[in-house]
């Protein structure tokens, strides 16, 4: 029961997608079944994202209650979750069932602050607090990669030298100043680099990786559908 039902559900859910590929979705039962399954999958998948947030609140909330180390920061995390989520969940429309009750208590003009649209608290917090921080977190990697280039990028062997030289040439080619410099040695050099490095060596390796990974994905998917691969079910 605990494993058989999920295995059957997984098989049927995947089987619809495989079989429908061979039929015209507009005119067949299997095509219509595919549409229903896909609609349902997009709905159910939404809940999985929220599940992760529950865990974040639970872990950080516990730390706050138990006054563990750095608990004030964890409190900031919990407050931030609610500050973002609650205004977004409040009704925007005064005509919905929830909206009718909500706006009988609060002024209707407050409606523009709620929901996720432009002008809402959610949108403001995203634009002026969350987004700049996320952009900065990743921008910091520029410093680390420059430091790594200085400290760790060594021509220790022939293979490493090959990697290093290509990296340097590509870095030159992909910026206007470097491209102008390369053209000093021949006007066609940037074109040759695009043709032979990017569309030659790079395409060959990327293609090898794409084919290898796709073979792996297809076989793993088959194992999931047939119930051989069950690790996604966890323990119990």
């Amino acid at each position: 029961m605990r494993t058989t039902v999920p295995v059957i559900v997984a098989f049927l859910s995947g089987f619809v997608m495989v079989v429908s590929f061979f039929f015209n979705p507009d005119r067949t039962f299997i095509g219509r079944a595919q549409d229903v399954v896909l609609q349902w999958v997009t709905i159910v998948s939404g809940f999985t994202l929220v599940l992760g947030v529950f865990s974040i609140v639970r872990v950080n909330g516990r730390a706050v209650v138990r006054r563990t180390e750095d608990w004030p920061f964890k409190l900031a995390t919990v407050i931030s979750v609610f500050a973002m989520a609650i205004p977004a969940m409040l009704p925007v429309s005064t005509t919905s069932v929830g909206g009718k009750i909500f706006y009988s208590i609060l002024p209707q003009s407050w409606g523009s602050w709620f929901g996720t649209g432009t002008g809402s608290i959610y949108d403001w917090l995203f634009n002026f607090v969350d987004s700049p921080m996320m952009e900065t977190m990743f921008a910091m990697l520029a410093f680390y990669i420059a430091s790594a280039a200085y400290r760790a990028f060594r021509a220790r062997s022939a293979d490493a030298t090959l990697l290093l030289l290509t990296a340097v040439i590509v870095m030159l080619w992909r910026v206007p100043m470097g491209e102008a410099f390369l053209r000093l040695f021949g006007d066609s050099i940037p074109d040759y680099l695009n043709t032979f490095i990017m569309n030659g060596f790079n395409v060959a390796v990327q293609r090898g990786i794409i084919i290898g990974a796709a073979l792996g994905a297809a076989s793993m998917s088959l194992r999931v559908m047939l119930g051989i691969e069950r690790t996604y079910m966890g323990k119990g």
Partner: protein, 216 residues
């Protein structure tokens, strides 16, 4: 100098500048400003998911179609979604497997077709080409390069047999190809990371600088 900024616009620019600088301060050393910003960032990002899913999935895909259009059958995916939360209760967590299996099985079905039909077949077909490409010697050389590269890369990643003899020699060629391609990838990665830094620097210089020059 651009148009005059309102008080709110100044505030928004300064808030962003503070957050950016508080995170960059970590480059010097770990500190309380960085830690606070980092934790707020984690919380807001998690809250973003909740708000988005509430509005776009629960309200738009479930509640509105059921209430406004009478699509009562959507109660089934709704139940499957709610069952996902049994994962949080150890005794009942196995129930969530049904919902998870529904999503994962579907994705597996999609992957089987998309991997074979959308990736492997077209990628192989565009590798095995006539050497007479119509683009002269360079075209032939490129076509040859791609065939040799794809085969040797695949062999390099084939670990079921020891890399000796012909297999070993081919894998060795594969390494050279991989090194050149990864070098190009590294160059691109450096480029990407620097671009992100430029984005932040442009904000600080043009927008925050603009606000600073208007105030002082």
């Amino acid at each position: 100098m651009g148009e005059s900024l309102s008080f709110v616009q100044h505030f928004e620019i300064w808030l962003r500048a503070y957050l950016i600088l508080s995170l960059f301060s970590f480059l010097y050393r770990d500190n309380v400003f960085y830690k606070l910003s980092e934790h707020i960032f984690a919380g807001l990002s998690a809250g973003y998911y909740v708000g988005l899913i509430w509005q776009t999935v629960i309200i738009q895909q479930l509640v509105n179609p059921m209430v406004d259009n009478g699509h009562w059958w959507l109660v089934f995916p709704g139940i499957l979604g709610v069952l996902m939360f049994t994962r949080l209760i150890p005794k009942w967590s196995w129930v969530s497997r049904v919902s998870l299996a529904f999503v994962i099985g579907n994705t597996a079905g999609i992957y089987i077709i998309s991997s074979l039909h959308g990736l492997i077949f077209p990628q192989v077909a565009s590798t095995i080409l006539s050497l007479d490409t119509g683009n002269g010697f360079a075209g032939t050389l490129l076509a040859l390069l791609v065939v040799v590269g794809v085969i040797s890369t695949l062999i390099y990643f084939y670990f079921s047999k020891e890399h000796t003899g012909l297999l070993g020699a081919t894998a060795r060629v594969g390494i050279w190809f991989i090194m050149i391609a990864f070098g190009a990838h590294f160059g691109y990665t450096v480029m990407g990371r620097i671009s992100l830094l430029i984005g932040r620097a442009e904000f600080l210089y043009y927008e925050w600088g603009g606000s600073l020059s208007q105030i002082f």
